[in-house]
Symmetry: C2
Subunit: 254 residues, 2 copies
DNA sequence: TTTGGCCAATTGTTAAGACAATATCAGGTC
DNA sequence: GACCTGATATTGTCTTAACAATTGGCCAAA
């Protein structure tokens, strides 16, 4: 049994909270704790100050402090144990999967994204598309097919279907901004997405588009995204070059 | 703009809460709401009773009701909007990815799991293994290699490394019970796991083991799992037959 | 008709307090 | 020394209360 590092760090830099601003207090606190972990100021295995004391020092109630800590527990960076305290999880921390598009992902990793628009047309929904989008079969939908590149190297071939009220999206918007940015600019806020991740061999056409050998292994992802009223706003079938892209998931047991 | 179904269901079956039992009240409530959604009693798009009224009817405080609802929002089944209310998300509901092993997954889908144990031996940690497990390079570790089958069809080849205090696991346990069950029976409770999901071609040996053609596409998953003290307890490299297994992820925007 | 403003409904945030459950640890007893 | 017991520390659950922010609809005014 190895000895745990048990020092309780004082976290001295916890003073100036914006009490009248629009950012919730619990969020301000959770951001600072997270930063302290990422920066190594709170090393792996170290114990966090207990909730009551932390609240007293910050001039906050226990529920507020508790919520701040819970946010980070949900991200997989902290672990709480009743009777013991709250500790920083060991192991290098990694970026979490979020509800973003490939475009956002690439921007975040400082690559230059670009797009080849292969198709942008109206199509009537077949059975599968209709089911995924929650519309009746035969409804008009917008069909998009794109190749996404990062630093001019092809990364993914993406097919998307959107409900009819998005018909009219300009091709140029998709080339410049990425689908999720276009949707956001039209007032849509994505809230929930369900993804299936799998693998298969490439078709010959995909091999050409992605500049890989025929019959290469591709990473595939099917996704349906819903807005804040629960309506399906996008259904997509994507395939990625596995040497350039992979998915990262953090699971936290409740 | 399509008309939303707006009827607020009364949810009449909400009476008998176990107030003295060990199950938290918020959990009892969230379970019932979830059941009501899954069973179709709360159809897609329908509005939930508001938090205050629901609390009054159940004899619960608003924070308790709120927490119950939040649990289901986090699962992606409900969407809340300030000033509006809480609605059931459209679209068919699907099972969520949880912190379980392949063994558990297969058991849940009513397939008969079995195992071929290829290796169970002590190995010194190389650089990568040491980093993932958070031990010093050269430390003794337990190495396990298995083929997992469902209804006698091979589904995955799995390599795992465990810290030295697990050396001594009996081969028979792994064949009968699955790694996560063995760890749980030794008092380990997994709390956090970080996974990378990708794809690649199979090696010739893997193709034989999985009974697929040479150079098939495989779905791969690397995982490091941490227990409730934040210590790494398992590091694994798995590859799956994509025609028999895929990952399902639900993302919820905060 | 359209625009603007006010009002009601609903979720979001914060507080203060109480009790329960669980883990560690020190001490005492056998 | 081994085992039980109680004290202490810490997170988990629940209540009551208040105010803030956002949305949608109604109504009056331009």
């Amino acid at each position: 049994m190895s000895v745990q590092e048990e020092k309780t760090l004082p976290m001295g830099l916890f003073m100036d909270l914006e009490r009248s601003g629009p950012i919730p207090l619990y969020f301000q606190v959770s951001q600072r704790i997270e930063t302290a972990i990422l920066s190594g100021e709170l090393p792996a295995g170290s114990r966090l100050e207990n909730e009551v004391a932390l609240g007293q020092r910050l001039g906050l109630s226990r529920p507020t402090v508790r919520r701040a800590i819970q946010e980070i527990v949900d991200k997989g960076l902290l672990v709480r144990r009743r009777g013991i305290g709250t500790q920083v999880v060991h192991g290098q921390v990694t970026r979490k999967v979020e509800l973003t598009s490939l475009y956002d992902d690439l921007t975040n990793t400082h690559k230059v994204p670009s797009t080849h628009l292969l198709a942008l047309e109206n199509r009537v929904a077949d059975a599968k598309t209709a089911e995924r989008l929650g519309v009746v079969e035969g409804s008009p939908t917008l069909y998009i097919r794109r190749v996404r590149l990062a630093d001019d190297v092809p990364v993914a071939v993406m097919e998307n279907w959107l409900p009819e009220d998005f018909i009219g999206i300009a091709p140029n918007d998709l080339v410049i901004h990425g689908l999720y940015q276009v949707l956001r600019s039209r007032g849509v806020t994505m809230r929930v997405a369900r993804q299936h991740i799998g693998a298969r061999k490439s078709t010959n056409e995909e091999a050409v588009l992605l500049e890989v050998e025929k019959n290469s292994a591709l990473l595939t992802m099917d996704r349906t995204a819903y807005d804040n009223s629960g309506r399906a706003v996008e259904f997509g079938q994507h395939c990625y070059r596995p040497d350039l892209y992979s998915f990262e998931v953090t699971l936290v047991e409740k």
